[in-house]
Symmetry: C2
Amino acid sequence: MRETDFVSGFGRGLKVIEAFGETRQRLSIAEASKLTELDRATVRRSLLTLAELGYADYDGKFFTLTPKILRLGHAYLAATPLPALLQPHLDLLSEKAGQSASASVLDGTEIVYIARASQRRVMSINLTPGSRLPAYCASMGRVLLAALAESEARAILARSELKQNTPKTRTDPDELIAEFRRVRAEGYAVIDQELEIGLCSIAVPVDNDRGETVAAINIGAPAALVPAAEMKERYLSLLKETQAALRPLLRR
Amino acid sequence: MRETDFVSGFGRGLKVIEAFGETRQRLSIAEASKLTELDRATVRRSLLTLAELGYADYDGKFFTLTPKILRLGHAYLAATPLPALLQPHLDLLSEKAGQSASASVLDGTEIVYIARASQRRVMSINLTPGSRLPAYCASMGRVLLAALAESEARAILARSELKQNTPKTRTDPDELIAEFRRVRAEGYAVIDQELEIGLCSIAVPVDNDRGETVAAINIGAPAALVPAAEMKERYLSLLKETQAALRPLLRR
DNA sequence: CCATTGTGTGCGATATATGAACAAATGTCA
DNA sequence: TGACATTTGTTCATATATCGCACACAATGG
């Protein structure tokens, strides 16, 4: 790609939108400038553009995003068959298990939720399509990383900030790679409070009819109700059932 | 705002992203150019910019959005307290009712889903945060339009394409305005298969502590299981319960 | 084989980014 | 409170980047 094939004004604008996610609802020009490391004058033009197009409101001091901004993410959710295909199966899975069920794909070092059916809140944070979690310490992340070539998985771990979220979080790359091997061999991953104290989850890959892993699905449960040791016997067969139902639907 | 305070390259890029929602997953440069009515060279630069930043993939012929694009919508969902606040209440509502529950806000002539808890699929289309429906023929839309000044509601109807989706769809502006009055007086709206045959729904407004309507919540059910006439007696009290639980949480 | 449709590139006209300058608002401290 | 220092939003001049057009070429299909 040539230098001139890049619209820097567009790139800067996208950066400005993302700045809203990192902090609060409202951003002043100066705040947005700091978050994006762009010149105040430049950010101002981007924000005024967003306001002009109805993607943001401006009260003369603060800018806030409007729901119109959801059109952008929706362009992906509507255009990609995967989320729409998964949703009813997640609903059913969630109902049968009596717990939250989610689906995600890998994006860099993070997993991105693309669909979710929640029975109960088990996590302190609110997960919606578009929510992101570090892959190395999430059950779906383990499954998705295990599906990659080992060198690739290792490269992603190297780029990840391997943070000790809880005393139980595994952060040693070699240990994680070994776990990926087990996940590949046994077909599922269980997380026991590695992301957040009190939360266990179990995930399996979703493969298409060519055997390529295109997503992961999981069930999350409060550790107080379902000990990690019981996750497998309670939910693995339900997950496998859903996995099997999805495979023929995923043509590439 | 001065003419030079608008970054047209940014605006054009956003238009390109939205073009993906309207059709398929994959867009060629020429297709995107037609959809956006922008010059091919311009669209090409925007698409290459998206690809360069990881928001799109490019195989040399077609562009597809990547899950990274969800960050943009997520910036809104994460930054705005409303969706996160509503979600657990919707989950509970959905569980109690045994039907899908959703929340939405008004954006122009359409309602935008900002949260959803689905028990079962009742609609032919898949609704996710960011999904849009015409306001005039959706239960939440009726509630949100009823909350506006009548002149404003009428202006929105004038801008709406009042389409006869089913034989039951009401499309007469005066009739709709009269219905808004009833909704205002009685505090709820019921839709009987006006959007899609086989689908009934009932909605109530969500007000903040100053009495301003900030969103609407609804329950949808298959007409075959729950006749429209029964929607009120079955679900209104549950909705009112949720409405009451939310009000004190919504400070402005 | 020609007509059609799609993609890549060079160029002049036009739009935008940048950093500095300035005024207004805000914060700080005696 | 008043004087002073910071921070913020806005404007400006100008160097730089981008747009849309025209054209060349490639791929497709009848």
